[in-house]
Symmetry: C2
Subunit: 212 residues, 2 copies
């Protein structure tokens, strides 16, 4: 294939993509057009992976009862999390909408196969977490690709992960990495909802660079 | 800011970016132009993070002795990894170049601050790994941005991570997520080196979707 040239116009577009990529919790119920989810999953599979192990595994959650079980899992984990806050912070936490399972037309669980033989163990003997990190890279690739196509993604992490695995009856060696709500967003924004609602501003600490 | 329109031309460019993003181990020694690393780190800080906790922490490794200590760390971890292979697979493993520390002009360690108060704990009480995953998302953002600007990145994971933390004298609560070699690649390719050298092909298992 011909070597691509990423010009200024593309680089500016990429910056905008990163600026406008949001964690979406408010979805329209509109279905994705036929084939779009396949396109996005094909792109996700271009993600880097340790030893080229490609350890991501996708589970599409379609059954209403199964979705309900996952939503109840979230509600229990979220109630438990709320108990850790007091006063104004607790009130603010309770007011946040932290998942879009009520409306998102697509719900996708992403797992890492921690026992895959693909990649022949390369690169994760001293850092076994690299297989899970590779699945994280696939989720992020999916997220950015979705945004480019006008589709929003919300990563739900307030869950008992082992219970999700049981509910979805996946192989024992699969570890839940992300539960993704996917669909068209009700609104588009370049400011994170947690900034707008006063939970956590962007800040400069993370941009400092230590030198050694 | 005005809502961007990601048109077909941008989406095609993004697909090419994902196809041509490689894990680079062969670097030119050419320095990056002034300001480019700052631009890339600014973009990396647009990565998603759990609760907007922005837990990534960057350490630029510049000192020759420090670089040498990290390289020796790699060599020990790599020798140990090699012991796990036999016969042809061992010979092939030994022939692979798995890091670019010999030439890469920029070496950047990325950590997750596991005790950050930013984000106020949101989203990682039931899945504490979300802070590390957020730092992974920053590395991937940096990686894609770098590629768009013609710069290669190689993620070295064959390391004793705790020893890297000691060598770099980072705060106790920081967990190493990635050690990145960064610079202009000697070659550009849309095929992973591990595919070309016969270690691990792309395969279709990871693209299957279970339905539940």
């Amino acid at each position: 294939m011909k070597k691509p040239d990423f010009d200024d116009s593309f680089c500016n577009g990429l910056t905008q993509l990163l600026e406008w990529r949001r964690d979406v919790r408010h979805f329209k119920t509109t279905a994705l057009p036929d084939g779009l989810l396949d396109t996005l999953l094909d792109l996700a599979c271009l993600a880097p992976s340790v030893g080229n192990s490609q350890p991501w595994r996708f589970v599409l959650v379609e059954d209403d009862n199964t979705r309900q079980a996952i939503r109840e899992n979230f509600q229990r984990a979220n109630s438990q999390a709320l108990e850790g806050y007091d006063g104004d912070r607790a009130r603010l936490y309770a007011s946040l909408k932290l998942e879009g399972m009520d409306k998102a037309p697509v719900q996708l669980a992403v797992f890492a196969n921690e026992q895959t033989e693909q990649g022949h163990g390369l690169g994760h003997q001293s850092m076994p977490e690299m297989l899970r990190y590779s699945a994280v890279l696939a989720v992020h690739t999916l997220w950015l690709a979705a945004r480019a196509y006008g589709v929003g993604l919300g990563w739900v992490s307030i869950l008992d992960a082992d219970e999700v695995s049981k509910t979805l009856a996946v192989p024992e060696d699969w570890k839940l990495v992300a539960y993704c709500c996917i669909g068209y967003p009700e609104q588009e924004d370049d400011t994170p909802e947690l900034v707008k609602l006063g939970w956590q501003d962007r800040q400069a600490d993370c941009r400092k660079v230590l030198k050694r």
